[in-house]
C-alpha cells in the first residue's frame, strides 16, 4: 500500500481499513470534545486547497514538490482538508521529512483559509511556519526569527496548537522546541510548503502513534483546567452554597419518587420537602405501574388521584394509550393479563428501577437513538448475555415466582457495575455508555455521599427493599446505600434468564381472549386518534405512534421485527417520565429536577464554549466530573 498512486484510495484494503480505524480511535481519544458533524478534524491534505506545484499521494498524506524550484516564487503549499476545531483544546500533527530534496526549503505550520498557496507557510498574514533550511520561525512575515534547529531528511517535525492560550510550539524528533507563536487567530489549517525539487514529506494526523508524547502535554493542561475549576471562587454566596446543593439533591430525590431516601435526606439536612409525602408515594406508585407495563392501571390511578390531568393533556393520554396497546401486545398490561391464569398481583415483577433512574433525554437526545442500536439497556449497563437482554422484560407469561426472569434480567441490567458492561459494548458504544447513558449515575456520587452519609438506609427505604439503585453505593460502609442488589439474587438470575429465552414469546401472552381485547382496544385507540384529529388538527407524531404500534401486529414475531423495539420495556421510561412531569407540573412543581437542569445547562455551556472557540472546553467536560 505504500505504492498507491495519487489519490487512489482502495477501500477494500484491509490494512487501510485498519489504519482508518486506528485513526478514528486515536482522534476520538485525543479530541473527545470535538463534534465532528459540526467541525470535522483534519485527516489528510486537501487535493483542492493546494498550489499546482504540489503533488499528493498515499491517501493524500504524502506531499511532494513538482515545480521548477528556481526561487522563492516557485514556493508551493497545501492545506489540510479542515481547519483545527477549537474544541480540540490542544491539537497536534506531525510531518516526517522523507527527503529534503535539492535545498530543503521546507516550511511546516498553519494558515487560514484563503492565504496564497504560492508561498511557504509563515510569509503572509494569517500564516505561520517553521522552516527547515535555517530553523527560523516565520510569523506572518517574510523575515524569520531564530527559533529552533534546522531539520532535514529523516527528521519528524511536530506542530502543536494550544487553543486555550492560542499559542503554538514545534517538536523535533519528539523533543519540544518551545513556543513559536502566540496570539494565533482561530480556524487555522495544518499547512506545509515546499520549494525545491525532490522535497517529500509525509503527514501524520493521527494515523500513527506520534513521536512526541502529546497526551502527556494534554494531561498537564487537563490538570490545569481542572485546578482552575476547582479553585474557581464562589464568592460571598459561600454560605448559601450548601443550601443550594442540599435543595438540588432533595428535589432530585423527590422528583423521581425516592420517597424514603428523600425523607431521610431532609431529616439529616434539616431541610423541608415541598411536596407532601403521600403525593410522592402516589407518583411513585403510578410510575411503577407504567414501568411494569401495566399502563392501563397507571391511567386509572392517574385519573383517580389527579382528576382532570389527562383530560387536559390529550397528547399525554394518547401517548399512554399507545403504550398501553404496545403492552397488550407484549402481554404485560393488566387488561390482557387478567386472562392469564395467574393473579396479576404476583406478576408485578418489574423491579421498577429504570423508571426511577432519570435519563438525560432533554439534554442529549441523540444518545437515546444510539441506545437503540445496541442491546444494552438504557442504564448504560449491558447484561451478561446479549441475546437475553434484548427484550428482558416481556415475560409476563413466564414464572411468577419472586425470581421471575424479567425481574432478574432487569435487576442485572440495572447493575451499576459498569466494568461488567464494557467488554460487551462495541467500541462506539463504550464512549456513550461511560457517560450520559448511565442514567443513574447522574448524581455525582461525591454530592450524594457527602450529604447522605449520616442518615441510615434502613428498611423504610422501599427503594432498597426492591433492590434497585440510583447508582451510589456508600463506599465507606459495608451497608449498601440507596441500593445495589443482594448478590444471591443476581446469581440466581443468570440461569433463569437462560431458561426464559428458550420459551417462545407469544402475542398477548398467547391468550385468545386477550388478543381479542387487544384488537378491540386498538379500535378504541384509532377512534381516539380520529377524535383528537378533529378537535386539535392533524398531529404527525400521533400518526406515527399509532402506525408504529399497529405495525407490531403485522409480524409473526413482533419481538424480532423492524418495529419490535417498541416492545422493549426500556421504552416505557419516556412515557413514565412524561407522565411524572405532567403530574408535577399540575402541582406547580418543576417538570425537570433542578439538578438535571443544572447538568443540562453545564453541558450546553461546554458545547457553546466549543462554538465560541474557547479551547478549554476540551478539558472541562462533564464526564470527567461525573464518576
Amino acid at each position: 500500500m505504500a505504492e498507491l498512486g495519487a489519490g487512489s484510495l482502495q477501500v477494500g484494503d484491509p490494512a487501510l481499513n485498519y489504519q482508518e480505524r486506528e485513526l478514528n480511535e486515536r482522534l476520538k481519544r485525543l479530541y473527545p470534545a470535538v463534534n465532528e458533524e459540526e467541525t470535522p478534524l483534519p485527516r489528510s491534505w486537501s487535493p483542492k486547497d493546494k498550489y499546482s506545484y504540489i503533488g499528493l499521494s498515499q491517501n493524500n498524506l504524502r506531499v511532494h514538490y513538482k515545480g521548477h524550484g528556481k526561487n522563492h516564487k516557485d514556493a508551493a503549499s497545501v492545506r489540510a482538508t479542515h481547519p483545527i476545531p477549537a474544541a480540540c483544546g490542544i491539537y497536534y500533527f506531525e510531518v516526517k521529512i522523507v527527503s529534503k530534496g535539492r535545498d530543503g526549503y521546507m516550511g511546516i505550520g498553519l494558515s487560514a483559509q484563503g492565504v496564497n498557496m504560492n508561498r511557504l507557510p509563515g510569509w503572509d498574514k494569517h500564516s505561520y511556519g517553521y522552516h527547515g533550511d535555517d530553523g527560523h520561525s516565520f510569523c506572518s512575515s517574510g523575515t524569520g526569527q531564530p527559533y529552533g534547529p534546522t531539520f532535514t531528511t529523516g527528521d519528524v517535525i511536530g506542530c502543536c496548537v494550544n487553543l486555550i492560550n492560542n499559542t503554538c510550539f514545534y517538536t523535533k524528533n519528539g523533543h519540544s522546541l518551545g513556543v513559536a507563536f502566540t496570539d494565533l487567530p482561530p480556524n487555522l489549517y495544518p499547512t506545509v510548503g515546499l520549494q525545491t525539487p525532490g522535497e517529500i514529506v509525509d503527514a501524520n494526523f493521527g494515523q500513527q502513534p506520534f513521536v512526541f508524547d502529546i497526551e502527556d502535554y494534554m494531561s498537564e493542561w487537563r490538570a490545569k483546567i481542572h485546578g482552575m475549576i476547582a479553585r474557581f471562587p464562589i464568592g460571598e454566596r459561600l454560605g448559601e452554597w450548601q443550601a443550594v446543593l442540599q435543595s438540588m439533591v432533595s428535589s432530585y430525590l423527590v422528583h423521581h419518587g425516592y420517597c424514603a431516601t428523600a425523607m431521610a435526606f431532609a431529616r439529616a439536612t434539616e431541610t423541608k420537602i415541598q411536596e407532601d409525602q403521600s403525593s410522592i408515594k402516589n407518583r411513585q406508585r403510578i410510575q411503577k405501574l407504567v414501568l411494569a407495563g401495566r399502563v392501563g392501571e397507571a391511567i386509572d390511578a392517574t385519573q383517580q388521584l389527579y382528576p382532570g390531568l389527562l383530560e387536559h393533556n390529550p397528547n399525554l393520554l394518547f401517548m399512554l394509550k399507545c403504550r398501553q396497546f404496545v403492552e397488550m401486545v407484549n402481554g404485560t398490561d393488566s387488561e390482557v393479563r387478567c386472562f392469564s391464569t395467574r393473579s396479576p398481583k404476583s406478576q408485578d415483577s418489574y423491579p421498577g428501577s429504570p423508571s426511577l433512574s432519570p435519563r438525560h433525554g432533554a439534554t442529549n437526545p441523540h444518545l437515546h437513538s444510539t441506545a437503540t442500536d445496541s442491546p444494552t439497556c438504557s442504564n448504560g449497563v449491558t447484561s451478561k448475555n446479549k441475546s437475553h437482554s434484548k427484550y428482558p422484560g416481556i415475560s409476563s407469561s413466564s414464572s411468577s415466582s419472586p425470581s421471575s426472569p424479567s425481574s432478574i434480567v432487569y435487576s442485572e441490567s440495572n447493575s451499576t457495575d459498569s466494568t461488567k458492561s464494557q467488554p460487551h459494548s462495541s467500541a462506539s458504544n463504550q464512549e456513550t455508555s461511560d457517560g450520559w447513558r448511565r442514567g443513574e449515575n447522574i448524581v455525582p456520587p461525591s454530592l450524594l455521599q457527602k450529604h447522605c452519609s449520616g442518615f441510615s438506609a434502613d428498611s423504610e427505604m422501599e427503594i432498597e427493599a426492591e433492590h434497585y439503585t440510583n447508582g451510589v453505593a456508600d463506599s465507606s460502609s459495608a451497608r449498601i446505600m440507596n441500593g445495589t442488589y443482594k448478590h444471591e439474587e443476581i446469581l440466581q438470575t443468570d440461569n433463569h434468564s437462560l431458561d426464559e429465552s428458550d420459551q417462545p414469546r407469544q402475542l398477548c401472552g398467547g391468550n385468545q381472549a386477550a388478543t381479542e381485547r387487544m384488537i378491540q382496544f386498538g379500535r378504541e385507540l384509532q377512534a381516539l386518534s380520529e377524535q383528537l384529529c378533529r378537535e386539535y388538527g392533524k398531529n404527525p407524531t400521533h400518526k406515527k405512534m399509532l402506525q408504529d404500534a399497529f405495525s407490531l401486529l403485522a409480524y409473526a414475531d413482533p419481538w424480532n421485527c423492524p418495529v419490535g423495539q417498541q416492545l422493549d420495556p426500556m421504552q416505557r421510561e419516556s412515557v413514565c417520565s412524561a407522565l411524572n412531569s405532567a403530574i408535577l407540573e399540575l402541582q406547580n412543581l418543576p417538570r425537570q429536577p433542578p439538578l438535571m437542569l443544572a447538568l443540562g445547562q453545564a453541558h450546553e455551556c461546554v458545547q457553546l464554549m466549543a462554538r465560541v472557540r474557547a479551547g478549554s472546553c476540551s478539558f472541562a467536560r462533564l464526564e470527567s466530573f461525573l464518576h
Binding site: G148, P149, F169, K172, G174, H175, S176, L177, G178, V179, D213, D216, Y217, S219, E220, R222, A223
Partner: protein, 701 residues
C-alpha cells in the same frame, strides 16, 4: 470587614514576667505527686505551646524538657502520659533552631529511639513525629541516627506499622543519609525492598518521602543504583514507576524528585544516557522545571539536576540545547536584583504598585507583609538562581562548539559571567568560573567574546586568594586563555601572572599543581626568550626538578611539556642548556630509567630530540655515551612512538650542514646506529620508515 485572626502575636501584649509565671506553673505541675494531675498538666502544656514560640522557649529555659523526658522514659508512667510527653516534646521541637539544640543537648534522641521499642502504636508515632522534627533540622548531627546499630533495623521493621510511621521514618532517612557510609548502612538493612512498596502508598506524603529516600540513596552510588534498576514494584520496574511520577499532571515536587532519582541512577551508571526514559522523559521534565512558571526553588533544583545529568554526555547536551528554548530560558535566571540598592528599589516600586491595588481590592493591609516576605524570599533565591544557571550553561557548553556559540550570543551573557566572577557569593563565583571554563574550550570564543569582554581581568582577580575549588576552575580557565592563539595571552603575560602560577605549582592539591604547570607550559609555547627566562627564573630549577619527580603523572607530563616548550628554538635551547644542562640531562636520565608510562618516556625523548637540535646543547648528548646507548635501545623499542622519538633525536644529532656533523655521524656509526636505522627503513609503520630514511640520507649526502 476583615475577620480577626487569632495569632501567636496575641500573646505579645502580656508582660514577660506574667508569661514566665504561667510557664513556671506549667512546669511545676509536672512534679505533682498525683499522676492524674501530671497527665492533665502535660495536656494543658500541650495546648499552651501550640504555635507559641515564646512559651516554648520559656518552658525549655525552665527545665521542662528533662522532666518530660523523665516522664516519657519512666516505666511506671501510663502510656497516655508517655504519649502526651512525646507530643509536647514534638511541639517544642517545632519552634526555633535554638529549641532543637536544647532538646538535642538534653539527649532527646536516644530517649525517643528507646521509646520506639514500646509496642503501642500511638506512642511510637508520637516519638517518631518528634524525632522527625528534630532530625530534619540542620542543627541536628545526623550521625546520631547511626550511633546505635540496632536503630536502623528497628526503624525498618516499624515501616509496616502505619502510614504515619512510614512518612516519618522515610523522612528521617532522606534527611540523614548524607554520606556513602549512610547509604550503605540503609542499603544493607534492606532499605530498597522496604521502601519500594511505599511508592504505591495511597498517601501522597508517604509516596513523596519514599521517593526522596531513593534519590538520596542512589546519589553517586553505583551499587544502590544498579540494584534499583531491577526492583519491581507491583510488577512494574522501578524506573517505569519513576517515569509515571514524572507525568505532567503530577505534582511538580513529585515530577522533580522522580527526575532526580533517574538522573542519579543514570550518573551512577545504572541507566544508559541514551535510554528513552532519560532522553524522552527525564531530560524534558528537568527542562520544564527551569521554566518561568515554576517556583524559584524548583527552578534552582531543576537546573542543577539537569546540569548534573548531562555533564558527561554531549548528545544530552545537544538535545537540551534545543529543548524549549532552554538557553534563553536560563537568561531569565539573571533577572533578579543582585545588589542591596536594587532590592530597596524594587521594594519601593512594588509598594507603589501594590498599595493602590490593595485599596482597589479592599483587602486588609495584613497582606502587605506577606507580599514583602515573598519578595525577600525571591531575593534570597537570586544568588541560587544565578549559580544554578551558570552551572547549567557550563554543562550545556562542555563539549559542543555550536552550543557554546549559542550561549555566548545570549543577551549580555559575557557581561553576566564577568560580573558573576566578582560576586560576593562564593557559590556564584565558582559557578561563573565553571561556566567560563566550559566556554573557554572554544577556540572561536577565545578569539572573540573572551577578548572583547576582557574576561582575563576578573579572572586574574579571582585567582588572588580564592578557595581551592575556585582556584582549580579559574586556573584551568587561565590555561585555555594562555593558549597561543588566544588574544588574551599577551595582556595576561603583562599582568605578571608568572609568579602566581609558580606558586600554584607548590600547592598541596595535585589539580592546582597541574593547572599551574599547565598554564606555564602554554605560556612557554613559542614564547619570547624573555618570557622563557622569566619562567625559569620564577619557577627555579629546584622546583622544576621537584615537579619532574611529582607523584602525579599529569604534573610530570605537563612539566615535561614545559621543558619541551622552553627548549624550542635553537638559541633558546643552547642558552637554557648552557645554564641548566647538567640538571636537565640528569632529570632526563632519571625519567628514562624510571618506571613511567609510554607517554612520559615519549615526551622525554622529544625533549632529548630538542636538545639534540641545539648547536652547543647536542654535545651534552654526544659526550654522554650512556645516554646514546639509551637512545639506541629506544630505537629498537616495541612501541612505535618511542622508536619515532628516538629516531628523531638521532636524526637531529647527525644532521648535515652543521659544524661537526661528520664526527657525530662517525661516532654513531661506530656505535651501531646505522644498522638500526637501516633496519628501521624497513619498518611497517610509514612514519617511522620515513624518518629512518631521512636520517639515513644524512649519511649518504
Amino acid at each position: 470587614e476583615a475577620c480577626r485572626i487569632k495569632s501567636p502575636l496575641d500573646h505579645s501584649h502580656m508582660d514577660s514576667s506574667e508569661v514566665t509565671a504561667t510557664s513556671r506553673h506549667y512546669v511545676d505541675r509536672l512534679f505533682d505527686p498525683d499522676p492524674q494531675k501530671v497527665l492533665q498538666g502535660v495536656i494543658d502544656m500541650k495546648n499552651a505551646v501550640i504555635g507559641n514560640n515564646k512559651q516554648k522557649a520559656n518552658l525549655i529555659v525552665l527545665g521542662a524538657v528533662p522532666r518530660l523526658l523523665y516522664l516519657l522514659q519512666q516505666p511506671t508512667s501510663s502510656l497516655e502520659l508517655r504519649t502526651e510527653c512525646a507530643v509536647v516534646l514534638g511541639s517544642l521541637a517545632m519552634g526555633t533552631e535554638n529549641n532543637i539544640k536544647s532538646l538535642v543537648d538534653c539527649h532527646i534522641i536516644p530517649a525517643l529511639l528507646q521509646g520506639l521499642l514500646c509496642q503501642d502504636l500511638k506512642f511510637i508515632e508520637a516519638c517518631l513525629r518528634c524525632l522527625r522534627t528534630v532530625f530534619i533540622s540542620p542543627v541536628t548531627p545526623v550521625q546520631l541516627l547511626f550511633t546505635d546499630p540496632t536503630v536502623i533495623p528497628h526503624l525498618m521493621s516499624l515501616l509496616s506499622r502505619s502510614q504515619r510511621t512510614q512518612e516519618y521514618i522515610t523522612q528521617i532517612f532522606s534527611h540523614c543519609c548524607k554520606t556513602p557510609e549512610h547509604q550503605m548502612i540503609l542499603y544493607n538493612h534492606g532499605a530498597i525492598q522496604n521502601i519500594a512498596p511505599l511508592l504505591m502508598s495511597p498517601s501522597y506524603k508517604v509516596q513523596m518521602q519514599a521517593l526522596k529516600c531513593f534519590s538520596v540513596l542512589a546519589y553517586e552510588n553505583t551499587q544502590v543504583s544498579m540494584t534499583l534498576v531491577n526492583v519491581l514494584v507491583d510488577g512494574e520496574l522501578l524506573t517505569q514507576v519513576f517515569v509515571k511520577m514524572m507525568q505532567r499532571d503530577r505534582p511538580i515536587e513529585m515530577q522533580l524528585t522522580a527526575a532526580k532519582c533517574l538522573t542519579y541512577m543514570c550518573r551512577a551508571g545504572a541507566i544508559r544516557t541514551d535510554d528513552t526514559c532519560i532522553i524522552m522523559k527525564t531530560l524534558p521534565c528537568l527542562v520544564r522545571m527551569c521554566s518561568k512558571e515554576r517556583l524559584l526553588e524548583e527552578r534552582v533544583e531543576g537546573a542543577e539536576t539537569l546540569a548534573y545529568l548531562m555533564e558527561p554526555d554531549v548528545e544530552l547536551q545537544r538535545i537540551a540545547s534545543i529543548t524549549d528554548h532552554l538557553v534563553a530560558m536560563l537568561a531569565d535566571y539573571f533577572k533578579y536584583p543582585s545588589s542591596v540598592s536594587a532590592i530597596a528599589d524594587i521594594k519601593r516600586v512594588r509598594m507603589a504598585i501594590v498599595s493602590p491595588c490593595i485599596k482597589l481590592l479592599l483587602v486588609s493591609s495584613v497582606y502587605l507583609p506577606v507580599f514583602l516576605i515573598q519578595l525577600d524570599h525571591d531575593l534570597k533565591h537570586a544568588h541560587e538562581l544565578r549559580q544554578a544557571a551558570f552551572k547549567l550553561y557550563a554543562s550545556l557548553g562542555a563539549n559542543d562548539e555550536d552550543i557554546r556559540k549559542k550561549i555566548t550570543e545570549t543577551e549580555n551573557m559575557m557581561d553576566r559571567i564577568v560580573s558573576g566572577l566578582s560576586e560576593s557569593s562564593i557559590k556564584v563565583r565558582l559557578a561563573a568560573v565553571r561556566c567560563l571554563h566550559s566556554l573557554s574550550r572554544s577556540v572561536q570564543q577565545l578569539r572573540t567574546s573572551f577578548h572583547d569582554h576582557a574576561v582575563w581581568k576578573p579572572l586574574m582577580k579571582l585567582l588572588q586568594n580564592a578557595p581551592d575549588e575556585v582556584l582549580v576552575m579559574a586556573s584551568s580557565t587561565l590555561c585555555n586563555l594562555l593558549l597561543e592563539f588566544s588574544p588574551s595571552k599577551e595582556p595576561i603575560l603583562e599582568s605578571g601572572v608568572v609568579e602566581l602560577l609558580c606558586s600554584l605549582t607548590q600547592s598541596d592539591s595535585p589539580a592546582l599543581r597541574v593547572n599551574g604547570i599547565w598554564a606555564l607550559m602554554n605560556m612557554a609555547f613559542q614564547a619570547d626568550q624573555k618570557v622563557k627566562v622569566e619562567i625559569v627564573r620564577a619557577l627555579g630549577t629546584e622546583q622544576l626538578f621537584r615537579l619532574l619527580s611529582d607523584p602525579d603523572a599529569n604534573v610530570l607530563m605537563k612539566t615535561l611539556g614545559l621543558l619541551r616548550n622552553l627548549l624550542s628554538t635553537r638559541p633558546h635551547i643552547d642558552q637554557i642548556m648552557s645554564s641548566h644542562g647538567k640538571q636537565i640531562m640528569q632529570a632526563v636520565t632519571l625519567i628514562l630509567e624510571g618506571e613511567h608510562g609510554i607517554e612520559v618516556k615519549e615526551q622525554t625523548l622529544c625533549i632529548l630530540g630538542n636538545i639534540a637540535d641545539g648547536h652547543t646543547a647536542k654535545e651534552l648528548i654526544m659526550t654522554n655515551d650512556d645516554m646514546l646507548q639509551k637512545i639506541k635501545s629506544y630505537m629498537g623499542h616495541s612501541n612505535v612512538k618511542l622508536q619515532l622519538a628516538a629516531t628523531f633525536c638521532v636524526s637531529n644529532l647527525i644532521w648535515n650542514e652543521e659544524d661537526g656533523s661528520q664526527e657525530r655521524q662517525d661516532k654513531l656509526r661506530e656505535m651501531g646506529f646505522v644498522d638500526i636505522l637501516h633496519k628501521l627503513t624497513q619498518a611497517s609503520d610509514p612514519n617511522l620508515c620515513d624518518r629512518a630514511k631521512t636520517a639515513m640520507q644524512q649519511y649518504l649526502a
